[in-house]
């Protein structure tokens, strides 16, 4: 079983990438489980044709964790992709990080963490130990950074490198950086910048996903690109990404950059 986690700055396109990746993997005949680890609970929505599925923490909130069954939290979407959303508290109260930990414990107890590939789609930044959960305890060994060429997106990706390096140094730490997925924001010289960033942290660019209006059209129609426009060039990019990830065995402990180095790197590619 391959377990991968997608991390990156909020709004950078992690969920879109994750959903299309899961759709492409399931097209290849693989059993896929996608877990959205974000209180926004929108990771799997395109796989579920726009439905907001009940979350694991909804069940906990209702006090049903003792009697909960897998079919109450695991839902089948596009071509049988199994979809889970952790959910979380309302903004400003409680502890969403603890919610992620509780979600994993519950899914473990329900023996739901199965399949050929598990895709963890995690909230924007590793703000606490709870959101590092997919990297810990032997869940996702392969972490992919999703980033554009925007400085703050690279900054978030660099921060996540710090978390990976820290967790990899633990006695039982097995998570590694598997690569960088570029998701275009549309700025000039963006792909070379993301590639250079990947090199500097001693990783590599797996795929650079170009901007394409078909992504927005697919979302308006509540579908992944793979389902909405299966013959489009963009769908081919996602399929290529899926293939690259399946074949990838190049896992590293990254070397995060200092803020000065990161800014210098950006200045090489971004016009002043």
């Amino acid at each position: 079983m391959k377990q991968i986690a997608l991390y990156g700055k909020g709004g950078i396109g992690k969920s879109t990438t994750a959903a299309n990746l899961s759709a492409a993997l399931t097209e290849m005949g693989l059993s896929v489980l996608q877990i959205g680890c974000d209180p926004k609970r929108d990771s799997t929505r395109m796989l579920m044709h726009g439905s907001w599925i009940p979350t694991v923490l909804d069940q906990v909130r209702e006090g049903r964790e003792a009697t909960i069954t897998a079919d109450q939290v695991v839902f089948r979407g596009f071509r049988g992709v199994r979809c889970v959303e952790s959910g979380g508290p309302e903004p400003g109260v409680g502890c969403a990080g603890r919610g992620i930990i509780a979600t994993f414990q519950l899914l473990e107890r329900l023996a739901s963490l199965t399949g050929d590939v598990i895709v963890y789609d995690v909230l924007g930044d590793v703000v606490c130990g709870g959101f590092a959960m997919p990297m810990r305890e032997g869940y996702a060994r392969e972490v992919y950074l999703v980033t554009s060429g925007e400085l703050m997106s690279l900054y978030a990706a660099n921060n996540i490198c710090k978390a990976i390096a820290r967790l990899a140094g633990r006695v039982r730490g097995r998570c590694r950086l598997a690569g960088v997925i570029g998701n275009a924001a549309g700025q000039a010289r963006e792909e070379p910048l993301v590639r250079a960033f990947a090199d500097r942290i001693h990783s590599r660019l797996i795929t650079f996903i170009p901007r394409d209006p078909v992504v927005q059209r697919a979302e308006i129609n509540r579908m992944t690109v793979i389902e909405y426009a299966p013959d489009s060039p963009q769908a081919a990019v996602y399929r290529g990404l899926a293939q690259s990830i399946l074949e990838n065995s190049d896992l590293v402990v990254p070397t995060p950059l200092s803020m000065d180095d990161l800014e210098s790197l950006a200045m090489e590619f971004i016009p002043a």
């Binding site: 923490l57 906990v60 909130r61 006090g63 964790e65 979380g88 508290p89 309302e90 400003g92 109260v93 409680g94 502890c95 969403a96 603890r98 919610g99 509780a102």
Partner: protein, 352 residues
């Protein structure tokens, strides 16, 4: 007199802010204290305090509730659990409800002050602390005393108080100390020499309406110097002068009389003469100790200081490395009576 064979350990200083705050709030006998957090925090602290009081033969029913924060409470926030617990506490019609926060509710950011600030029909007072995050026992105790002090004001929950004959307030008695009531008796005896007596015991065996007395005192006597922030707080709020500590040592007891008299504007001459006579008489009763060689075991709070030097010199004891090991209690004994209790223990050790 305590029968505790280990007098230097007869008082607790360990634990988190909850333990210190509870040692204060549970002495408001018509109050209820809520520990907002996991049930284990309440169980541990209630058990610890109950066991200590039982050990000192002074048990009383501890009115403590837990908001029983569980995993969903941590994830989704515990304010609902706290509100439910306050409602439950209110049903017993207490005079006041105190709310103490544990580490976890501080960590997840519950708005405890906001919940307490709703209109509950009775005072609901948040005591700052946050378990271990807020510090240790002494911090919790200070926080609780200051939080209570904030409530004593004209037009507040208890504007008038209950005692028309006010004057001297004892602040921060160590309720988990084995000798707490013996110490109270000694301070009362010394004040009586000046024609005074303690009024409010802030806080020991107090009921909520009597808190108003705090605002009308002429003098606050702190139990120990660590409570200076409380003394300052009360001085600022009510203009009440304070003494930094209960009397400690021979000269310290005399100085206590002088300072109280100085603040109250009375003549201490007769009181000083009487107390000197009492001290001489007490020392004479322990004349058999003269010439004994002793080695003082430092108390957990520090090395032997002026107290030990004065006492050993007064008794003609020689401090030497090969002397009989004798413990110095922490806190040090209060007044002349406390010294006498200590000397009884020393005599047993020297003649053993």
């Amino acid at each position: 007199m305590t029968l505790n064979p280990l007098p230097w350990s007869s008082y607790r200083l360990d634990g988190c802010t909850l333990t210190g705050a509870l040692s204060v709030t549970t002495e408001v006998r018509d109050g209820v204290t809520i520990l907002h957090g996991p049930a284990g925090c309440a169980q541990h602290n209630a058990s610890l305090i109950h066991a200590t009081l039982l050990d000192h033969d002074t048990p009383h029913l501890l009115r403590i509730l837990s908001s029983d924060l569980d995993e969903p409470g941590v994830i989704f926030g515990g304010e609902g659990a706290l509100a439910a617990c306050i409602r439950e506490a209110s049903r017993g019609d207490p005079g006041v409800i105190f709310v103490l926060s544990t580490c976890v509710v501080q960590t997840i950011g519950d708005d405890v002050g906001g919940v307490c600030g709703r209109d509950w029909g009775i005072p609901v007072i948040p005591v700052p602390g946050a378990g271990f995050l807020g510090g240790g026992f002494q911090d919790g105790m200070r926080n609780a005393l200051i939080a209570l002090g904030e409530q004593a004001r004209a037009g507040g929950f208890c504007s008038e108080g209950t005692n028309p004959d006010l004057g001297i307030t004892l602040v921060g008695e160590k309720n988990l100390e084995a000798d707490v009531d013996e110490n109270y008796a000694e301070v009362s005896r010394l004040l009586a020499l000046l024609g005074e007596r303690p009024g409010l015991r802030f806080v020991r065996g107090m009921d909520w309406p009597s808190l108003g007395d705090l605002a009308r005192g002429r003098l606050n006597i702190l139990r120990e110097p660590e409570l200076r922030p409380v003394g300052e707080h009360l001085a600022e709020r009510f203009g009440t002068p304070y003494l930094l500590s209960f009397p400690v040592g021979l000269s310290g007891s005399l100085r206590f009389l002088e300072e109280v008299a100085g603040i109250l504007g009375t003549d201490p001459s007769d009181a000083l003469e009487e107390e000197r006579g009492r001290q001489e008489e007490a020392l004479a009763r322990f004349g058999d100790l003269r010439g004994g060689r002793i080695r003082l075991t430092p108390s957990p709070s520090g090395v032997p200081g002026p107290f030990a030097a004065e006492l050993s010199a007064s008794l003609g004891l020689l401090i030497a490395d090969d002397g009989v090991p004798l413990p110095l209690p922490s806190p040090l004994p209060v007044g002349t009576a406390g010294l006498v209790r200590l000397l009884h223990r020393w005599r047993r050790a020297l003649h053993a």
